[in-house]
Amino acid sequence: MEKISMRKMKENQSGVISAIKIGGELGQRIRDMGLVAGTKVTVLGRAPLYDPVALRVRGFTLTLRNNEADHVEVEVE
């Protein structure tokens, strides 16, 4: 197990969120969409220009810009 930033996750890689390291509006938006510590996420893919990233979380598809994914720390196998 190691903790990496979500930006570094590869396609189809899964992990469990260990921390959201940002407050304010962006942090709130991320949490309101169900990304809280302990949630399982899978990277579905990235846009043609490698940004934003598409995730499967709690059964739906969420997209985040890479600079937003930087604040999400994920524990991966």
């Binding site: 959201i20 407050g23 509006e25 962006l26 942090g27 709130q28 938006r29 991320i30 949490r31 309101d32 969409m33 169900g34 809280v36 510590a37 302990g38 949630t39 579905l44 893919g45 846009a47 043609p48 220009l49 490698y50 940004d51 934003p52 598409a54 709690r58 059964g59 739906f60 598809t61 969420l62 997209t63 985040l64 810009r65 937003e68």
Partner: protein, 737 residues
Amino acid sequence: METTIALAGNPNSGKTCLFNELTGARQHVGNYPGVTVEKKEGKYSRDGHTIHIVDLQGTYSLTAYSVEEVVARDFLVNERPGVVIDIVDASNLERNLYLTVQFLEMGIPLAIALNMGDVAQKRGIDIDTKKLSTLLGVPVIPTIARNGKGKDDLMKAATRIVEEDTPRVPLIVSYGDDIDSALLEMGETITTNAFLTERYPARWIALKYLERDEQILSKGREQDPAVSARLEEITARVSEHLRKTLNTYPEVIIADHRFGYINALVKQGVIKIRDNQERLYASDKIDKIVTNRFLGPIIMVGVLMGLYHFTFNYSEIPVGWFEGFFGWLGETASTHLPDGLLRSLIVSGIIDGVGGVLGFVPLIMFMFFGIALLEDSGYLARVAFMLDRVFRTFGLHGSSVMSYIVSGGIAGGCAVPGVMAARTLKSRRERLATLLTAPFMNCGAKLPVFALLIAAFFAEHEAAMMLIITLSSWLGALLVAKLLRSTVIRGESMPFVMELPPYRLPTFRGLAIHTWERTWQYIKKAGTIILGISVILWAMMTFPGLPDSTLQDFEYQRIAARAAVSTEVNREVDRYDETTALSDEAHNLKERLMAIDSREAEAGLRNSVAGRIGIALEGISRWAGFDWRTNIALVGGLAAKEVVVSTLGTAYSLGEVDPEEDRALSEILPGSPGWSPLAALSLIIFTIFYAPCFVTVVMIVRESGSWKWGFFSMVFNTLVAFILAVAIYQIGSLIGV
């Protein structure tokens, strides 16, 4: 008293669909006072009872960060609807319940519409509605909003809640020892001081203080600064403690526990998963192709071209009917009204002006139908996803592309629906930057101007010129957007955090309602204001009329022309009705008379307010290579860009010029003093960038919510255009092009 029910829920939960099913066509769209958030209302009747339904904006949460969420929150506490129907997407239960829990914590009477159970089942998710209802303590009614299934049961359950009118008891969620004890302490202070409690439950106010909710904080400080200060003190203490012990913030703990509460709830047998969740959904399979690195962009170009083709080709026929109708109306008015100012006002001012606006109606309808189709099917979110990286560089958002394309990103669009299409953007700054720059695209009305100038000066390089024009407008729009986002609309971009909803087949009813709503708004708003503006522009180009002596001069010229030929010929010309051929002599006379009319029109235009402005501006416009004639034409272009060509025609004494057939003008211009390929290029660039037409300005005002931005777009765009035109003309002259 009439009962009010509010519909609330996450975006893409089928809320709008249910609203349409409940209210049918009996809807009213307005605005909440002071903000640009749409307020949708409708009526539902059954068994002789009529219920007033308000469709709140789809939100994921109830924070103070977005206008939509604040508006929803304010509506719930200020209007106190009898019950709120919370539409919950069954295939997405946990995230949807996050909002539900927040409603319950506010003590709002709730009925849950558990929507799209069929989709959930297909995904292998079974939901025990009874269990969910017992655990949450609110009725849960399964619905399928697409076909209205379950809507009557839902309304029965909802009205029962309104009738019973039991006291509102807020739900209490545990947030762990640290937060809970702080909430207790704060709750006591709040209750004993009756601090904001006439509107909100005490515990909820405490929660919002811990979350540092801007709106509640400022309301609190206003009501009782002392109590507010005490609560802020507790918040600071708890925050500090959490930071030291757990390296986290209260709002993080609150969100964690809220989802923890939901997880615990659904694990008590609410959700049963039949088979493997990991398998690909149908939507994922489509996305593997549609957002593929190579295929995605190709498909996107195809879809956007298709939308374009659909809108502009198929709306051509009904647009033709509208134009035909207004043409007929103008002609009828011309023949039945006596020659004079009244006729001129009605025909040139009112009918042409309003007709020009209403002529767009079919185009707008087609465009919005196409956009609604892309939006409701879920494709628009993919476009935003794919293009965000490009547009973000310029301070815009992936969704901005829609506005640009519709406005004429592929030459020939229209900025009016383009500006309206910016509505799909949720973030205010990006939306503003988009709708201010979209008019730089080359709308269909600018094309005759380009066609004229290209034919006159660049006939051999037609394709290359069109490419340069298209690229200039894109580059200009993106760079200006960047400029605006780093100056007047500076600020952090909104978090992108966006859901990619599953692909869905839109319902025709939904599309039709969507399309009509927006079209009607356009007719109402634009129709009234534009009428006034058309009359003003008409007056500017008509008054003051020529002095009597000058008019007499032209009359003498006519009399002289007629006196030079026989009475027979004169009679022939008077009887002429375009069906028979004229004799050579009569033809000559007619030509001469028309030439006199045209010279009179030119003199009249030159003498009018617009003409005087044009002449007065010559001193400045010379820098860009424009003379007074071009200036007037550009002023006329404020009404609609195609007017530039017809006004130039009048200014060059050509009489009536049809913008579609401007051959005469394109032959005259190259030989006229002051014209050169360089001046033409300068005018082309100016036309791309200068003030949008009035209809567009009115739409910018509507969509931005303030006249300030309408005026800004006129002044700023003209300035940008002028600077560019001067730069081209001066540099070109220097290097001797």
